[in-house]
């Protein structure tokens, strides 16, 4: 297993002549958990689509699990952005997970043995996300957080080595978000995970490295949020403002960012080890 999960070299991509991504280089070792941060329109989702082989790069090389994009099939699990699946679509939880095993081509005939095997794989995936007892329910009867876990089950039903997630925690409530992140940390034991997010509060203990994407990509082999990462991820000028003001705190816990008055605030230093500390008594805003 020495093949890196993802290898990108000198990649660029243009939409209607405008370069969305350029000079992208990334070597992601197997077993990593990468959070891809960046402003909207910075090219995060495009990068994911390039990895999936849904769009062709303008130039440069991409290898996913050692293969060209789009060739690794079921070895890549994919969770699209909180999907526009209509709430009234008639499908059961089990039926939705089974769609993770769909293959191109026509269905001539599906034998009973194959049907049974697929059903068992789907039930296993559902029990991994803790929803086995809901298999027979209509998908529309589940809560938003549960539905998102069903889609994760659909992504892992084929037993992938790499899991690509597009905004997995968008539009779920705080508690479901924590449960989702715990689930992803657990799945990370078996597979490499790449998670696109514009929400920096998802960057917690389980994330192993961070990539900031804004036309180009900066890979930080560390999951601590530094002012530099803030600046790259929000697309702001590092000199122009303090990250705390850029974010206006938002969903980011105050303890992971620096004091307004700290000399390090805009100097490119690190947000120190306070991330895990509990005593942030006097620093509430």
């Amino acid at each position: 297993m020495n093949t890196p999960a993802i290898e990108i070299s000198n990649l660029w991509f243009a939409y209607d002549g405008v370069r969305v991504l350029e000079q992208v280089n990334l070597r992601l070792p197997a077993g990593d958990f990468l959070a891809v941060l960046g402003p909207n329109g910075g090219g995060k989702s495009t990068l994911l689509r390039l990895l999936l082989g849904l769009v062709k790069p303008g130039g440069g090389g991409i290898r996913v699990l050692g293969l060209p994009p789009g060739q690794a099939g079921g070895s890549i699990g994919f969770l699209p952005q909180f999907t526009a699946v209509s709430a009234s679509f008639p499908i059961t939880v089990l039926g939705a997970v089974l769609l993770g095993l769909v293959r191109p081509g026509v269905t001539w005939f599906q034998g009973g043995a194959e049907r049974k095997r697929e059903r068992e794989a789907a039930l296993t995936a559902l029990s991994r996300v803790g929803l086995a007892e809901h298999a027979g329910r209509r998908l529309s009867d589940l809560s938003g957080g549960q539905r998102q876990r069903v889609f994760i089950a659909r992504a892992i039903v084929s037993g992938p080595k790499l899991l690509l997630l597009d905004e997995p925690t968008a539009s779920v409530d705080g508690k479901s978000r924590q449960e989702l992140m715990a689930l992803l940390a657990e799945l990370n034991h078996d597979m490499t995970i790449v998670m696109v997010s514009h929400d920096m509060s998802t960057v917690d203990g389980c994330v192993k490295s961070i990539a900031c994407v804004n036309r180009t990509l900066h890979h930080h082999m560390d999951s601590r949020l530094t002012p530099l990462i803030f600046a790259q991820a929000t697309g702001a000028d590092l000199i122009a403002g303090c990250p705390v003001e850029l974010l206006a705190h938002g969903a980011v816990p105050h303890r992971v960012v620096l004091d307004h008055d700290s000399p390090d605030c805009c100097g490119g230093g690190h947000a120190h080890g306070e991330k895990t500390g509990s005593g942030d008594g006097g620093r509430t805003s």
């Binding site: 849904l54 994919f78 699209p80 999907t83 008639p90 059961t92 769609l99 191109p104 269905t107 809560s143």
Partner: protein, 283 residues
């Protein structure tokens, strides 16, 4: 009212209604869950150009209309894929252009054109055997195609982005769906006319969607509902001497209102409450 079955035209009307219901249940469900109802409306109306062509050149109407509306549908599918932003506008233009072409061609056709209205409002009581056979052939073709691509169609309808990531040929399936819609529209034109096609394509699937647990289940339920509307509408129009196509749609609309009034299936117990039960019994 059973004596109506003694007439061949009435039996043929029933057969035509049932065939149309079968296909409308299947294609209508796909149209509704893929949210291409407006496209289907465009295909239905543009197909009038095919009727005009057939009249002008003195060719058999159904085959020519089938060919013309399939071409129109593929054109519209292409527009939706290439210029997504203005697709609805372009479809509106094609919609009107097809109808205008049909009417102008019929104007230019010499002779007596009493049949014109029958394609706008349906002529289910005048379906000849030859049309029935053609409808049966089209139904069989639609059934085989949907069965062959069933899994891909389901994956695309549920989540096109995910389906694409799995290598499902979503583009091709989109064209296939629009082609099938065109064939379906041509069949239903015979029954209720192209003005009223939309009702039969959308009302039964809409009623079925919220009550079914799978896409095939939705298709089956929609087909059955559609058949009930067709049969009830036929008998009512016979008994009350009303226009057939309009009566079928009126019955469907009443069914639609009733289905809105009937309470939905109850949502199962909330997860938190479910969680409490085993704990309580285990203590």
């Amino acid at each position: 009212m059973i004596e109506a079955l003694g007439y061949e035209f009435f039996r043929n009307a029933l057969y035509a209604g049932l065939l149309a219901s079968l296909i409308c249940g299947i294609i209508g469900s796909l149209v509704v869950v893929n949210r291409v109802v407006f496209l289907a409306g465009g295909v239905a109306h543009a197909s009038y150009g095919g009727v005009g062509l057939a009249f002008f050149f003195g060719l058999p109407v159904l085959p020519v209309t089938a060919g013309f509306s399939t071409l129109a549908a593929l054109g519209m599918a292409w527009v939706t894929l290439t210029s997504r932003e203005r697709a609805d506008t372009v479809i509106g233009v094609l919609w009107a252009a097809g109808m205008a072409l049909g009417i102008i061609l019929i104007d230019l056709t010499p002779g007596y054109n009493s049949d014109l209205m029958s394609y706008l409002f349906g002529s289910i009581l005048a379906v000849p055997d030859s049309d029935l056979w053609l409808m049966a052939g089209l139904s069989a073709a639609v059934l085989v195609l949907v069965a062959l691509f069933s899994r891909g169609l389901l994956a695309m309808s549920f989540d096109a982005e995910f389906a694409r990531s799995r290598g499902v040929p979503v583009r091709f399936l989109h064209f296939l769906l629009m082609g099938l819609t065109a064939l379906c529209v041509v069949m239903v034109i015979r029954v209720v006319g192209l003005i009223l096609v939309m009702a039969l394509l959308t009302i039964p699937p809409f009623m079925a969607e919220r009550r079914a647990r799978s896409l095939p289940g939705m298709m089956l339920l929609a087909g059955c509902l559609s058949a009930v509307f067709c049969i009830a509408g036929l008998y009512l129009s016979y008994a009350l001497d009303l226009t057939c196509g309009a009566t079928i749609i009126a019955v469907a609309c009443v069914g639609f209102v009733v289905s809105l009034a009937v309470p939905q299936r109850h949502r199962p117990v909330a997860p938190t409450q479910q969680g409490l039960l085993p704990n309580g019994s285990g203590a």
